[in-house]
C-alpha cells in the first residue's frame, strides 16, 4: 500500500492503495466513479477507456503508480453538464442499446476528435475499432462521431 495523489476530472484525490491496482478499480471501488466500466481487464474491449493527459487509454490494465501527476478525465468529467458534442451526438442518434460499452465509446471518440477534427468515414471506423459493442450499435456510433465532428 502506498499513497498516490491523483488529479481526476479537475479534482485532487489522495488514495492509499497497492501500486499494481489498475486505475479502473481505483476509480470504481476506491473513489466511487463508476461510469468507467470493466469489460475484459486486458485492454481488448475498450469499455474502460479514460483520458490520460487528453489521450484515450485503457484503465483496466494501467497501474495506479503510472498515473500519479497526470491529468485523468473520466466520463463523469468529460463535460460539466453532459453536453460535450460527442455526448450530444450520442443522444441525437439514440446510439445505445444496453448502454454498457458507451462510456468507453464516447471517451474514445472524444479523444479521437481532439486529434482529428474532420475525420473521414474510414478514419472514424478505424478510430472506433478498438471498442467492442456486443449489441452491435456500430452504425450509430459512426454516425454520432460524424455528427460530433461537425459540431466540435
Amino acid at each position: 500500500m502506498a499513497n498516490y495523489d491523483l488529479n481526476i476530472n479537475g479534482k485532487n484525490y489522495s488514495v492509499d492503495v497497492d501500486a499494481d491496482m489498475p486505475i479502473l478499480w481505483v476509480l470504481r471501488d476506491t473513489l466511487g466513479l463508476v461510469g468507467t466500466k470493466y469489460g475484459c481487464g486486458i485492454s481488448q474491449c475498450g469499455a474502460c477507456t479514460i483520458h490520460l493527459d487528453g489521450s484515450a487509454i485503457r484503465s483496466c490494465a494501467l497501474p495506479v503508480s503510472n498515473v500519479a501527476g497526470k491529468k485523468i478525465t473520466t466520463i463523469e468529467g468529460l463535460s460539466k453538464d453532459g453536453d460535450h458534442p460527442v455526448q450530444n451526438a450520442w443522444v441525437e442518434h439514440d446510439v445505445p442499446q444496453c448502454g454498457y460499452c458507451q462510456a468507453g465509446q464516447i471517451m474514445t471518440a472524444a479523444a479521437f476528435l481532439n486529434e482529428n477534427k474532420k475525420p473521414s468515414d474510414e478514419e472514424i471506423k478505424k478510430a472506433m475499432n478498438g471498442n467492442i459493442c456486443r449489441c452491435g450499435t456500430y452504425l450509430r456510433i459512426r454516425k454520432a462521431v460524424k455528427t460530433a465532428s461537425e459540431n466540435i
Binding site: 500500500m1 492503495v17 497497492d18 499494481d20 491496482m21 489498475p22 478499480w25 470504481r28 471501488d29 476506491t30 466511487g32 466513479l33 463508476v34 461510469g35 468507467t36 466500466k37 470493466y38 469489460g39 475484459c40 481487464g41 486486458i42 481488448q44 474491449c45 469499455a47 473520466t74 466520463i75 463523469e76 453532459g82 455526448q87 450520442w90 443522444v91 439514440d94 445505445p96 442499446q97 444496453c98 448502454g99 454498457y100 460499452c101 458507451q102 462510456a103 464516447i106 471506423k125 478505424k126 472506433m128 475499432n129 478498438g130 471498442n131 467492442i132 459493442c133 456486443r134 449489441c135 452491435g136 450499435t137 456500430y138 452504425l139 450509430r140 456510433i141 459512426r142
Partner: protein, 713 residues
C-alpha cells in the same frame, strides 16, 4: 427528445437501503431532482403529492405522470417502449412522463426479458393500464366540471368537455384515484396514435452518456464486500483441496470462503478479490471425463446418421418421396458452442440477514431467480426481494440466475452484503453456452419440384422446442418431417439469442439457395412459390403467415434491387420467421483483393405495429451485425473439458470496421406488435453465406466462416 429535459441529480451510486417498513428502496431519485431545461419545452413541475391510479402509473398534482416499466431492460428498449404504450392510451404528453424500473412484484405478470416477448405479451395489459386510468380521469373530470363523461375528450394531459371547459390531469388526479375501476375499456385506434409509432429516445440516454450508475456492477451497499470466485477450470472437475495462505496476504482481502466446488475471495475492492483469487492454490480432480470438441462432433454426426425417436413434425411420406425422386439434395451444417459475452460480465449483489435476502442486479428472470436464491439459502421465496438494474446485455445468459444464487450463498456465509463480479475469464468459462449443433437437411426433387423435406437436428444437451419444427417450409411441402436428437454433455448449455434458430436459419437458408440452383429457379421465386402452398392452411401448429412472409420477401427484393445488383456486387437472400416476426434480408458482398467483404444488408421486417421506430431500427441493425459477427468469427471449442478461449484476445467479436451498412424497412400495418429483439439475427448468417457463394462459388457448411481461410483470408 423524450425526457431530455428532465435533469436528474442521480446519486453517485445506485444506493440500496431498507425502508422503515422493511421494503426496499432503490435510489432512483428522479423525483427530488427534476428541473426543466430552459432550452427545451418545459415539463410539468415535480408534484407535492402523487396519486396511485394503478400498479403501472401514478399522477402528480402538477400533471406529471410516473409510469413503471415492469420488465427487465437488457438493451431491447422496453424501459422506453412499454411506458410509451401506457402513455399513449392514457393521453399524456410524453414529455410529461417519467419512467421508473419495477422490481419483482406480484403486481405484474411475466416479468421476463426473453423470447422477444415483452411487448407482444403485454400489449393488451399495458394498453388497458393506460386506458383504465384515462377513463378514471375522465370520470373525475366530468364530476368536477359537472358534465357528462361521454362528452369529454383527452389529449396531452387535458380533459376537455365539448363546451370548451377543461381540466388537467393534475387537477383531477386525487379524485381520479378514488374512481371505480372500469371493467371494460376501449382502446384508441392506431390511426389516432400520437406516441406509438413515433421516434422516442431511450429514457436512460442522459444517464448512459454521462456515466451515471445504472448497471448491476454499479450497485453499492453499506458494509458491502466484493467477491471473486474460483470455479473448476474444466467441466467435469471438482475441488479436492486448496491453500489460501497467499491469497489472504493480499492487502484488502478479508476472507476466503469455500462453497461447494467453488472458492470465494472477499475483499474491499474487486481488484483485491481478483488478485487474491489468482493466488489461490487449488487441487482439482476429474469426476467425469473431460470432453473435447472432436468427440462432440462425432457424437452429433452419429445422431444425424440415424434419427431416433418421434418426429417433431411429420407430414406425408418423406421416405417414399425420397425413393421416387430424381435427386435428393443432402447437406450437413455445423456450428460450435458459443459464449454470450455480455459486455457487462455476470454480477449480482446480495445481502442476506437472517431469513431475509435483498438481491439487486441484472437478471432477465427475476421470478425464477427469487425461487432459486430462496432454495439455495433455505428461506421462503417471499423473503427474497429482487430489484432490477439496467443490464449490460443479456442475450439469454441472464435468464439463468446461477451468479445470483452464488452471491446469496456467499453473503449468507460471510454475514455481510456481497457484490459478486465475474471477471471476463470467469464469464467466458463458466458455461451456459449455446449448444454446439449440426443440421442435416435433405430435399427430394422430382420433375423440377421439391417433393420432400427432412430436417434433422443433432445438438448438445437439448433440442429445438415449441413451434420451431413448424416453421417454413412446414406446410409448404407435402412430405415433410423434422427429427431432433441430443448428446448429453457435462458442459452446461442454455438459451443464446434466438435459441436454435440462430444457426438453424443459416443452415436452412443456405440450403434453399443450393436447392434453387438445383431447380434452376431464382431463390426469391422459389420461396414465394413454396409459400403459396401454406396460404389458407388450417394447420394450427403453423403460426407463421404465408402472406406476411411473401410480403417481406417481395419488399426486400424490391428495396435491394434483387437480381439487378451492380457489377461486382453479389447478393444473397434469406428470409426467416421467428419470435412471431417475419423478416427477409439481402446481403451484398464485394470482392476486395479477391476476398469477400460484406458491404450492406437490406432488411425488411413485419413485426406488426412498430412501437418506437427509432429503437426498433437499432434492434434490427444490431441483430444483423450480431448475427454476421457470430457466423463469421464466433468460435469456441473444448479440450478435455477446458474452453479454448477465456477472453477477447482469443475470442473474436465483430468490430466496428467489419460491420456492414444496414438498411431497415418495416412493413406498415395495424396488427398487434410481435418480437423484435431476436428476429433479425437468424436470417443474417444465411444471407451472408449465400452472397459469398454468389461471389466466390464456395459454399460454407460450418460456422464460423473465418475458418475457410482460403476464401475469407
Amino acid at each position: 427528445m423524450a425526457n431530455k429535459n428532465l435533469k436528474t441529480d442521480r446519486r453517485s451510486f445506485i444506493k440500496v437501503s431498507t425502508a422503515a417498513g422493511g421494503g426496499l428502496v432503490l435510489g432512483f431519485s428522479w423525483l427530488s431532482a427534476c428541473k426543466a431545461d430552459a432550452a427545451l419545452e418545459v415539463a410539468k413541475a415535480m408534484p407535492a403529492d402523487w396519486f396511485d391510479i394503478n400498479a403501472f402509473l401514478k399522477i402528480g398534482d402538477t400533471g406529471l405522470v410516473s409510469i413503471v416499466s415492469p420488465n427487465p431492460e437488457i438493451g431491447q428498449n422496453v424501459k422506453t417502449s412499454m411506458p410509451m404504450i401506457i402513455a399513449e392510451e392514457l393521453g399524456v404528453n410524453w414529455k410529461d412522463v417519467i419512467v421508473e424500473q419495477a422490481g419483482l412484484s406480484k403486481d405484474f405478470d411475466r416479468q421476463v426479458a426473453g423470447g422477444s416477448q415483452s411487448i407482444r405479451s403485454t400489449w393488451d395489459t399495458l394498453r388497458k393500464a393506460g386506458a383504465t386510468a384515462r377513463h378514471m380521469l375522465v370520470s373525475a373530470a366530468a364530476e368536477t366540471m359537472e358534465v357528462e363523461a361521454s362528452e369529454c375528450s383527452v389529449e396531452n394531459g387535458v380533459i376537455t368537455h365539448s363546451s370548451g371547459k377543461s381540466v388537467t390531469f393534475g387537477e383531477v388526479a386525487s379524485l381520479a384515484a378514488t374512481q371505480i375501476v372500469p371493467e371494460k375499456v376501449s382502446f384508441k385506434s392506431p390511426g389516432d396514435y400520437k406516441i406509438i409509432g413515433t421516434d422516442r429516445t431511450n429514457v436512460d440516454i442522459k444517464d448512459i452518456v454521462e456515466g451515471k450508475p445504472l448497471f448491476g456492477i454499479d450497485t453499492r451497499k453499506e458494509g458491502m464486500l466484493y467477491a471473486s470466485v474460483l470455479r473448476p477450470p474444466s467441466f467435469g472437475q471438482s475441488l479436492v483441496s486448496y491453500d489460501d495462505t497467499e491469497a489472504k496476504n493480499v492487502s484488502g482481502v478479508s476472507e476466503v470462503i469455500r462453497f461447494g466446488d467453488k472458492i470465494a475471495v472477499l475483499g474491499n475492492s474487486n481488484w483485491a478479490a481478483i488478485k487474491g483469487k489468482k493466488l489461490l492454490q487449488a487441487n482439482w480432480k476429474h469426476d467425469s471425463q473431460g470432453e473435447s470438441s472432436p468427440e462432440h462432433s462425432a457424437s452429433l454426426s452419429a445422431i444425424l446418421k440415424k434419427p431416433k425417436g418421434e418426429a417433431l413434425r411429420k407430414d406425408g411420406d418423406v421416405k417414399k418421396a425420397f425413393a421416387d425422386a430424381d435427386i435428393v439434395l443432402d447437406r450437413t451444417y455445423e456450428a460450435p458452442f458459443l459464449p454470450h459475452n455480455c459486455l457487462e460480465p455476470m454480477n449480482f449483489m446480495a445481502s442476506v440477514e437472517g431469513d431475509k435476502c435483498i438481491a439487486v442486479g441484472p437478471i432477465q428472470t427475476p421470478g425464477w431467480t427469487q425461487n432459486r436464491i430462496a432454495k439455495a439459502i433455505g428461506v421462503e421465496p417471499e423473503n427474497v426481494s429482487i430489484q432490477l438494474t439496467r443490464m449490460g446485455g443479456g442475450f439469454g445468459r441472464r435468464l439463468y440466475g446461477d451468479f445470483a444464487e452464488e452471491v446469496a450463498m456467499i453473503s449468507q456465509k460471510a454475514g455481510v452484503p456481497i457484490q459478486l463480479l465475474y471477471t471476463r475469464e470467469d464469464d467466458m468459462t463458466a458455461g451456459m453456452y449455446r449448444p454446439a449443433s449440426k443440421y442435416r437437411i435433405q430435399a427430394s426433387v422430382k420433375d423440377g419440384k421439391m417433393t420432400g423435406y427432412r430436417l434433422t437436428e443433432a445438438a448438445i444437451n437439448s433440442n429445438m422446442f415449441g413451434s420451431i419444427p413448424h416453421y417454413f417450409p412446414a406446410g409448404c411441402v407435402e412430405n415433410y418431417e423434422v427429427f431432433g436428437g441430443k448428446s448429453e454433455s457435462n458442459i452446461t448449455t442454455g438459451a443464446w439469442r434466438a435459441p436454435y434458430t440462430n444457426f438453424l436459419a443459416c443452415a436452412e437458408q443456405s440450403f434453399f439457395d443450393e436447392l434453387s440452383a438445383e431447380l434452376k429457379i431464382d431463390p426469391v421465386q422459389l420461396r414465394l412459390d413454396l409459400l403459396e402452398n401454406v396460404i389458407g392452411s388450417t394447420d394450427e401448429d403453423i403460426e407463421y403467415s404465408g402472406e406476411r412472409m411473401q410480403g417481406v420477401i417481395r419488399l426486400a427484393a424490391e428495396k435491394s434491387g434483387w437480381g439487378k445488383a451492380k457489377d461486382g456486387v453479389y447478393q444473397g437472400f434469406s428470409a426467416y420467421y421467428s419470435h412471431n416476426t417475419h423478416v427477409a434480408e439481402v446481403a451484398e458482398v464485394v470482392l476486395e483483393e479477391n476476398r469477400p467483404v460484406v458491404k450492406k444488408v437490406y432488411c425488411v421486417v413485419d413485426c406488426g405495429i412498430v412501437v418506437n421506430p427509432l429503437a426498433a431500427k437499432n434492434q434490427v441493425e444490431g441483430g444483423i451485425i450480431d448475427g454476421i459477427g457470430h457466423a463469421m468469427y464466433g468460435d469456441f471449442a473444448f479440450d478435455k473439458g477446458k474452453p479454448s478461449a477465456s477472453n477477447f484476445d482469443k475470442y473474436r467479436l465483430i468490430r466496428n470496421i467489419e460491420a456492414p451498412e444496414v438498411e431497415v424497412h418495416f412493413v406498415k400495418n395495424e396488427l398487434s406488435p410481435t418480437g423484435l429483439g431476436e428476429p433479425s439475427l437468424p436470417p443474417a448468417g444465411g444471407a451472408v453465406a449465400n452472397a459469398i457463394a454468389a461471389a466466390t462459388g464456395n459454399r460454407f457448411y460450418k460456422q464460423p466462416f473465418i475458418q475457410y481461410t482460403d476464401i475469407i483470408g
